[in-house]
Symmetry: C2
Subunit: 418 residues, 2 copies
């Protein structure tokens, strides 16, 4: 069987399984999830052993320490994985919800019913915990999943998949509802992202490099996340205390997350008073400031910022800083240089806050809150398959609902169109 034939047969089986998953009731899905969690706990030593083989091969291949760290499945990580699957079981089932059912003048009733997307392809790097996590979210939302993890994790992923299959079968659901692509051949991805007949959506989870590559070649719609170049704008009427707190949290709580602030804008009227405090706070925490000439005049430890700095997602203890005339320039700057991920204003002014909310073209816009809140758990979604920086279908944190769509339902009594 060629790689193309193999991926097509995976797609075909996923499509068939997606039909059964779409009609599975909540009980069956939850019982499968609880069985998977139990199997993960029971077989922890088998998972560790499989993972050790992956690690040995990765070490032999000279993988970087950071990647080895992501690849590692500890006993603790396995327990967390099982717990995550149980948490998904506890969430409300999004499938079947009917909304807006209304009578029309013709006599028919028209409404919408929430249904699974069908087949979800998930492409990720060498983090074996994503296998259980993604499988659980797709299962709960009534989808079939095709999982393609990094080739370094293939033994771990295979071992997890076996437990997922066991859980599905125990609840009377088709094991092929969750398939791990069992080849390290890179051509598999190319086939997966172009099989429109079998795959309804692709969710890539990984770095920007992976996603740009997929975006260039995919023929299947994608829910994807590119940069997180998030801004905090301190407005004329900002509360200085809130500004300091929010900037500290947004920039320094974690440097490597996509909702970390990478750029700070200040209204000119408050720059002279606030920038010295902000600059001192950030410098003390080891954050390098890269600023406009006005910033440099106020914060002597800052370095000059280039155009590129304002468009950068550093993922590091660096922040770009710009003094702006006010709200208009701030909004314009964010829409031009930002990545439409998450941006916050600090202001006590009602009109400025309302305009910022409406006019900043980002997936999450915030007033007087840290950008770090842009997260499925913080938003109350209960789980997160990813964060979308696109505008179609889903924006921002994507939970179970993002793995569903709404079809129209029409209830009639023999009506025909006039």
């Amino acid at each position: 069987m060629s790689i193309e034939q193999y991926i097509h047969s995976v797609g075909q089986q996923a499509r068939a399984a997606s039909r059964a998953m779409a009609r599975a009731d909540s009980n069956a899905k939850n019982s499968a999830l609880r069985a998977i969690a139990a199997a993960i706990r029971r077989e922890a030593s088998v998972l560790v052993a499989a993972n050790r083989e992956d690690l040995a091969a990765a070490i032999a291949a000279g993988l970087e320490p950071a990647l080895l760290d992501r690849l590692t499945l500890s006993e603790k990580g396995i327990a967390a994985m099982a717990e995550g699957v149980e948490q998904v079981a506890a969430l409300d089932d999004p499938v079947g919800e009917v909304s807006g059912l209304k009578f029309r003048p013709s006599g028919i009733q028209v409404g919408r019913m929430r249904v699974p997307l069908g087949v979800v392809g998930i492409i990720y790097e060498a983090r074996p915990n994503v296998t259980a996590d993604a499988a659980a979210l797709c299962l709960k939302s009534g989808n079939a999943a095709i999982l393609r993890g990094g080739s370094e994790a293939i033994r771990s992923n295979r071992a997890i998949a076996a437990l997922v299959h066991e859980g599905l079968a125990s609840a009377g659901l088709p094991p092929s509802a969750v398939q791990v692509i069992d080849t390290t051949d890179r051509a598999a991805v190319g086939h997966l992202i172009t099989m429109r007949e079998y795959v309804d959506v692709i969710v890539p989870r990984g770095g920007k490099g992976l996603i740009s590559r997929l975006l260039a070649e995919s023929r299947v719609p994608m829910i994807q996340h590119l940069d997180g170049n998030c801004h905090v704008y301190v407005d004329d009427q900002a509360d200085p205390e809130k500004a300091l707190q929010i900037i500290e949290n947004a920039k320094t709580q974690r440097y490597g997350t996509c909702n970390t602030a990478e750029s700070l804008l200040l209204a000119r009227s408050v720059a002279a008073d606030l920038l010295p405090l902000i600059g001192a706070m950030l410098t003390e925490r080891g954050v390098e400031l890269r600023g406009c000439p006005e910033t440099l005049a106020i914060v002597t430890t800052a370095w000059p910022a280039s155009e590129e700095d304002y468009a950068s997602e550093y993922l590091a203890p660096i922040i770009s800083v710009k003094v702006v005339a006010g709200l208009d320039e701030a909004i314009e700057h964010i829409n031009a240089y930002g990545s439409h991920h998450t941006d916050a204003i600090v202001s006590e002014n009602y009109t400025a806050a309302m305009r910022f909310l409406r006019e900043v073209d980002s997936a999450s816009v915030m007033v007087n809150a840290s950008t770090r809140f842009a997260d499925g758990f913080e938003y109350g979604l209960g789980a997160e398959i990813g964060i979308s920086t696109d505008k179609i279908h889903a924006r921002g944190p994507v939970g179970l609902e993002g793995l569903t769509c709404q079809k129209w339902i029409v209830l009639g009594n023999g009506e025909v169109r006039a």
Copy 2:
């Protein structure tokens, strides 16, 4: 300026205009729409004259009569166009609606705000009325539009665009919020559908050929409509009267529309009683039946159906017919051969109706109603930019809401993440 530079400058202007449109209030948008309608009425003779030039060129080029008919703008058609724009003005503004705003344990309030998509590219064939129609829908939903109509209609489209620009300017909105691509160079489309930085979504309106071509090359998300291979399934417990009425309307009311029934399925238990009546009714109306062997045994005027027939959107007085064992086979057949557009069951059985609604994987699923109801106006959307057979973002008839998305808003009081 090369064609690529031209299209990029159109995109750049559209992006800039989209910012102004996103913050335009309902009054400004409605006043622009009413001014456009008034200008269309006032300049009817100018539009007719421009259209005559298009028609003369099209006749000289040997265009088919059906295409000439679509290209023609009559005085009556112009009045209808103006009325359509006024109807859009009368619809509720979808922009700015906030939903689900709730406090979270962290203290922040999280909700969603409906906002325009941004820049919408619409690609259509030589129907000048689409220019006014699409412009009105994009304008009302706060988007900027880039319109690329068939080259045969370029003079008509230019004349309509001038009136749209006049209306926008009169309301203080940027004329570049609606741009008609002013070249017949086919390379324009290739650039339009790959400009991810300037175009947020492409809506193709036209035949299957156009759409498959765009689908193969587009790098921008599309809201598109492929086939409408719609089914009526007559269940074991169908009311015979309703079945006959619905089949007559679904198949014979109009042959060329996407929501016309193209395939009829009958439960074996009712075939012997109902097929003779249905066959006689359809034959009397000049509809050719193409059936399975069981159908042929009952309806002697029917022709044998091939596999291809069951997958066909005839857009003609032909219908494929198949006798099935019951609900399960019907659902399986529809999901395998259908186009996920619109499918109906005729049944008095509650469980059969509920299963059909849930398990048929189509944009519209109906119980005891004609498939011809699948339409934005019939569903109460007030207007329709198209019908989507895709699952991502919008399914089925797409109205103003389909031209918007929801961003997350967070209202805080200085909260930071723990």
